[in-house]
Symmetry: C2
Subunit: 109 residues, 2 copies
């Protein structure tokens, strides 16, 4: 295989990664909805430790555990922030038609 072949393989892996990350974000969002009902906090440091331990337990290399955790820290951070923003939007009081132009819900896209 030459460089172009390996890059095609990487591109296919990346598209699959996007698919899994989307499924993960959907699951995080479902948990966020259940937490909102139960008035539980979005950020649970003990759960995040378990997420990192689970990822580490599946690691057979070639990435070191530290390299893998740097990636998972970012995944967890992005999804936690996304969920917090989502909940903040949902918890806004219903609009009375005033001030609708002040907050743009598309600001994160």
């Amino acid at each position: 295989m030459d460089i172009a072949d390996w890059r095609e393989k990487i591109d296919a892996i990346d598209r699959r990664l996007v698919e899994l990350l989307s499924q993960r974000a959907q699951s995080v969002h479902q948990i966020g909805k259940l937490k909102a009902i139960a008035r539980l906090p979005v950020y649970e440091p003990e759960r995040e430790k378990m997420v990192f331990a689970n990822a580490r337990s599946a690691n057979e290399g070639p990435l070191t555990d530290r390299e893998l955790l740097r990636i998972f820290e970012r995944i967890v951070d992005v999804m936690r922030q996304s969920e917090m923003e989502e909940m903040a939007l949902e918890q806004r009081p219903p609009s009375d038609g005033l001030g609708d132009t002040e907050i743009d819900p598309e600001v994160n896209d």
Copy 2:
């Protein structure tokens, strides 16, 4: 599904993510070896733009493109650094048995 069920689903997704990230790192390493032979640079900004464009093109949400790219920036960054360290180790002159204790190849684990 309750919170525990969704967390089981996330843990299964994460183990699959680890598997794909490992395959991706192996592919990056194969490219690194081919680049070393051809004396090409590890860092190619144009290729990285194509990686981000490919990820973005596969994104159907719920993550925004910006959130997805924050994750891919970390993936690309970790793998580039890992590859540069790997190449630096391989390009060391063969050991003459002196100074073997000065560099610990396990330092990144």
